[in-house]
Amino acid sequence: MDKEKIKTTVILRGIGVSPGIVSGRAYVLDRCDVQALHIKMESDEALSKETERFQQALADSEMQLRGIKDRLEDGEGIGPLFINVQIMILRDRKFVESTVNYIRENRINAEWALNLTISKYRDIFSRIDDSYIKGRIKDIEDVAQLVFRYLSDERCERVADIPEKVILVARDLSPADTVQIKSDKILGFATDVGSKTSHTAIVARAIEIPATVGLETITREVMTDDIVIVDGTSGVVIVNPDPEILKRYEEKKRHYLVLEENLLREAHLPAVTKDNHRIGIGANIEFSDEIASAVLHGANGIGLFRTEFIYINKERLPTEEEHFMHYTQVVRGDGIKWATIRTFDLGGDKFISDPRLSDEMNPAMGLRAVRYCLREVELFKVQIRAILRASVYGNTGILIPMISGVQEIKTVKKIISEVQDNLRAEGIPFNEKTKLGIMIEVPSAVVIAEYLAREVDFFSIGTNDLIQYTLAIDRVNERVDYLYQPCHPAVLRLIQHVVNAGHQAGIKVAICGEMAGDPLYTLVLEGLGLDSLSMTPLAIPRVKKIMRESTLKESKELVAKVMTFTEPQEIEQHLRTYMVQRFPELCPLTNE
């Protein structure tokens, strides 16, 4: 089994003590490299203690694997083969006896003995012709890694040799640790314990690296070399993010780096152009912890609350109460006027977490989002019910992703109305005026936008997927990355068509892709007539300032001009030149 693939995303919340966002490889400080530990044992007593340690580490490892297995089996009963095989290896008489014999006969520590056992099997398996069976050595190595981890947990305290450019993960950092740390070596801190005034926090702020403390379990969740994102602003840490999340955070990081203080001071000012055209500004968030930052950066509302984190990597499906708790925290968030909650936007593979399943799918075009919800109606109803219940506490919108035709939204409406009937029957309050909107991200939805507009209260254009589907490019495939062109004339015309169709039907049209947060496109989107833009919080101050300094008239002229070009490069070049000249202080970042 590929070790990378069985890594699951874990989200931890702590206290953000030093602002900024960073992603990189983790280095776990309190687990040293025990594999290299070679100790000769003098006394028989020490030897029997080593044997005991080994047996205990086997038992602990098995317990952990059984825990994972139980979780996987709660999914859809797809037998987690690799786990079963790994458990069998842990219990394998030959494997265990071999290691115990090495301890006793060579009078060595358990780690060294385990290393000898692995070498022995490496040797045996390397002589096998069958490449499949040859590859099973990986299972033995994975199992051994787990056992090493348990062996190390109680033996090791500290290691001074920290590699370059890592995110340091530790239970806590003492002054003795931090004096050894050179700021250019460490990208960020993530610790189990601590507070805003703890030593770690002070050091992090002093050397200006992002840090989140008080994560409680980070040292248990992370292994050295795992990819970790530390958001020291909102206090969120994400372990083993999938490529999509990583990409989103790269974007956040970019915005963070260029955000100047004076922009932040003006962030609360409204996005009203000089000729008095007002545009709504929303924030895209995935945790309610981000609301304070969103408001600070000038969001009027939450334009996109992603709900996937409520589902993924849970031991079971979230209950209605869990959903409800998350949604009420968002809709009643301090300082926001509205919140749009997007329903489940993943495929079933994300919470069954079977690596083989996700492997076989083309996830972008598979059974996901509304398609999955319409197949797993009960799962969908739980979410809808929770959103409706939360709607009492604030101005709430429901946003359905990946709609491709009228029938889908009709079915969704039927389900929502059933849920509403049930709530009424049970006497549970909800806001009857909760708005229903759809993501416009599938090209077919653009083409029939006038029909869809009759069914819903608002549109939200998801440019990331719309661009991907329209230009037929896989966003995570680097070889076709160059084709990802928000400036493509086709993309701009699709957005224009959606805005016109929405406005003709009298509904609002928002945009919530990455494009919305890129200042290069601010005037174009303004000129295309979008009613609101929702973006990552850190992008807001700059986009708002551009709007405040512009006129709707000029942005409409700009749109008219770019619509005369036939090539994406021409459009991009024209926009770049225009924006840099027009807003020299606000748009330098577009020349990355």
Partner: protein
């Protein structure tokens, strides 16, 4: 007391597509573990402990290869029958 110690051995040919891979080895070990008989697998003079998945894997039997299963104990007949069924059914593959 009447305990009949049985010693059985039988040659099997693997008909499933992947040969003796991890899933199959796991199934064989699981079957054996439900019986008290001592079980061993043999191929080309190599002997594998029937209770060790790693031993069985190292026999490296591809599709179509033959190997011997030996069972020794008072339920040797029953366990051999179950091995027979399992291997005949191609371990539920296809």
């Amino acid at each position: 007391m009447c305990v009949r110690l049985m010693k059985l051995e039988k040659v099997f040919t693997l008909k499933n597509e992947l040969g003796l891979h991890a899933r199959v080895a796991a199934m064989l070990v699981n079957v054996g573990s439900r019986y008290s008989s001592a079980i061993s697998f043999e191929k080309d003079g190599m002997v594998a402990d029937g209770s060790s998945i790693l031993d069985i894997l190292t026999l490296a039997c591809p599709k179509g290869s033959s190997f011997i299963i030996k069972a020794e104990g008072d339920d040797a007949g029953a366990v051999m029958e179950e091995f027979d069924r399992l291997i005949e059914s191609k371990f539920g593959e296809d």
